[in-house]
């Protein structure tokens, strides 16, 4: 009960600090923190399927990329109202998520993951090669933004606002009957089917929701960077998001945020000192696998629970 009461206050305090940050930090750091928001949302959307749904969502980056490319293409190639582009990004991601998910949920585990890699790679290959439409491996740069989010500071606040709303929605979803049933499916799909849950449909809905939020993250990436490139849909990025979930703690709600923050800041600051960033990422990953399989948050929560347990014993 105590814990429940604390969370809103804690969140409000963090939010307050984040609102003030652009006034206190140099431009570069503001940019990095905004990038962490975007990446955190992406990782959280993935975690809905991986951590809560137990699905091998191996190619989540595709939906991020589809969201980003949709908004980029509409903004550069059409004269449609800008809000259409911003709405179309997540919707396009969700539609692609539905199509790919439709086939994937028929399979389980590794087959699910491999099929998703195949279908996702097809999308990547098309984007990568369709020079006349997507700009091929050059990507699209200098995407015009609506004036109210054209400066870094304003885009920071826009991203912060959208990510906050999305995280709140995800929180509601995870703690809803839908989310609880999803976790039950993760633990034991056969049993879940035997208590009357249409497992495949449930998984598909989870994928569509997750891909929708990945699309939102894609749109926010465009808001921040003003450009898109095919690497957004490449499988390396997809696995990197996977690592974020694992690093932060994939059985916890805030884990992916922490994972994203660690990876993005490490990449940025380690990248200043050495060109061997991926080597370091690889070593971190190995350390993680061997010593922190439940991730940072999982570790902290476990410690916390132990501490409370001992406290309780002492009192008793």
């Amino acid at each position: 009960m105590q814990k429940k009461d604390k969370w809103p206050w804690l969140s409000a305090a963090i939010l307050g600090i984040l609102v003030l940050l652009p006034f206190m930090l140099p431009r570069f750091y503001t940019y990095i923190i905004a990038l962490i928001f975007v990446t955190a949302l992406l990782a959280m959307s993935l975690n809905l399927t991986v951590g809560y749904g137990g699905m091998y969502q191996f190619h989540h980056g595709v939906f991020y990329g589809v969201g980003a490319y949709t908004v980029a293409l509409i903004l550069t190639k059409t004269s449609w109202p800008k809000w259409v582009a911003f709405l179309a990004g997540p919707l396009a991601a969700a539609v692609v998520g539905f199509l790919i998910g439709w086939f994937c949920v028929r399979l389980t585990r590794l087959y699910f993951g491999m099929l998703q890699i195949s279908l996702g790679s097809l999308v990547w290959a098309i984007v990568f090669r369709w020079y006349s439409f997507t700009g091929g491996d050059d990507g699209i740069h200098g995407i015009p933004m609506p004036s109210f989010i054209s400066s870094l500071k304003s885009s920071y606040y826009f991203i912060l606002a959208v990510v906050t709303v999305c995280i709140y929605l995800l929180y509601r979803i995870v703690n809803s009957p839908f989310g609880r049933t999803l976790q039950a499916i993760r633990d034991n799909p056969d049993r879940c089917e035997a208590v009357g849950v249409n497992v495949r449909r449930h998984q598909l809905v989870a994928i569509v929701i997750a891909t929708f939020f990945a699309g939102v993250a894609g749109v926010l990436f465009v808001v921040l960077e003003g450009s898109v490139f095919p690497d957004l849909l490449f499988w390396v990025l997809s696995l990197e998001i996977f690592i974020m979930c694992l690093l932060g703690g994939w059985f916890t709600f805030v884990g992916p945020i922490i994972g994203a923050a660690i990876i993005v800041s490490l990449r940025t600051f380690v990248g200043i000192y050495t060109e061997y960033w991926t080597l370091i990422l690889g070593v971190i990953l190995i350390l993680l696998i061997f010593f922190l399989p439940e991730g940072v948050m999982g570790f902290v929560l476990e410690r916390f629970a132990q501490g409370r347990g001992e406290l309780g014993k002492r009192r008793g």
């Binding site: 091998y56 399979l107 890699i117 097809l122 098309i126 090669r129």
Partner: protein, 292 residues
């Protein structure tokens, strides 16, 4: 469109299939026995190509250099695989499946940067040896001799693999472990060493493919990223863990790619992916029977 160009293009596609087959057969073998899609397989292939280059350069860039490279580079890769397996990987066999997969990803990240450290980001290349240089004429159009060589090597590797899995004790145990590992454990065989053997053989094959491909491409960083996804897809459409499935998958992949180049060069890369998707929509578990 002439028949001649169609034929040579098909042959080019088939020779590409041979490389793909050797890579994906190794991956499939590891997948079958250890149940892990080895993400680091592309990096091992890249190490094979770079080691081949170094050995080739060390022995004077001639025919001797080439043959020695072909012989020794796979051994280098196998040693790398063996060290990684015994040092770290073997401690994870009792763990969750996903952890094994992530380990191979970590291995890929590390090996990729190690290659960058050792060989640097430059482009290198190897010349094929004397007898395999130049082209021969097939139906009036030129076809590189080296690709013909690949067309011979590919089936030889297939035969070797068949002999290994059907005629040697280790191979038979590996095959049995792929189907039922508890059974193999119950027979008093050290499963950990079976896994090690399978992993090292898979790595060796990746090295063979890397050394073989070296004269046909420019050897450079990033060659791991492309091959790994192709190998993944081939293994998936072939049926996870089935080496003959890998052969069928490679043929489909190589030939559709070659035909793509002929008919719609800009989207050549899309053709094999589309073929894979079509196969998977019809047979989600692959064309041949998966071993598990």
């Amino acid at each position: 469109m002439e028949w001649a160009s169609l034929c040579t293009q098909l042959l080019v596609g088939l020779s590409r299939s041979m490389i793909l087959f050797i890579v994906s057969a190794g991956m499939s073998f590891i997948l079958g026995v250890l149940r892990v899609p080895n993400v680091a397989h592309g990096s091992l292939y890249m190490i094979g190509a770079f080691s081949a280059f170094s050995i080739y350069t060390y022995f004077g860039m001639g025919s001797t250099g080439f043959w020695l490279a072909l012989l020794l580079a796979p051994v280098v890769v196998a040693v790398v695989g063996f060290v990684a397996e015994r040092l770290l990987f073997c401690h994870l066999y009792q763990r969750e499946h996903l952890m094994l997969l992530l380990f191979t990803f970590a291995l890929m990240l590390i090996l990729g940067d190690l290659v960058k450290m050792v060989w640097g980001p430059k482009y290198s290349s190897i010349m094929p040896p004397g007898g395999l240089k130049g082209s021969i004429s097939i139906l009036g159009s030129a076809f590189p001799r080296y690709n013909l060589f690949l067309l011979i090597i590919g089936p030889l590797v297939a035969v070797f693999l068949w002999l290994f899995t059907n005629r040697t004790k280790v191979g038979k145990i590996c095959r049995a472990a792929a189907v039922d590992r508890e059974m193999v454990g119950a027979l008093g065989i050290n499963v950990s060493w079976v896994f090690a053997a399978a992993f090292v053989l898979g790595c060796y094959l990746a090295g063979v493919a890397g050394a073989l491909v070296a004269p046909t491409v420019s050897i450079t960083l990033g060659m791991d990223h492309d091959i790994i996804i192709e190998a993944f897809l081939i293994v998936t459409i072939g049926g996870l863990g089935n080496i003959w499935g890998a052969l069928v998958g490679s043929l489909i992949f190589g030939v559709t790619q070659a035909l793509g180049v002929l008919f719609w060069p800009q989207f050549a890369i899309v053709f094999p992916y589309a073929a894979v998707v079509i196969v998977l929509l019809m047979r989600p578990k692959g064309l041949l029977k998966s071993v598990w």
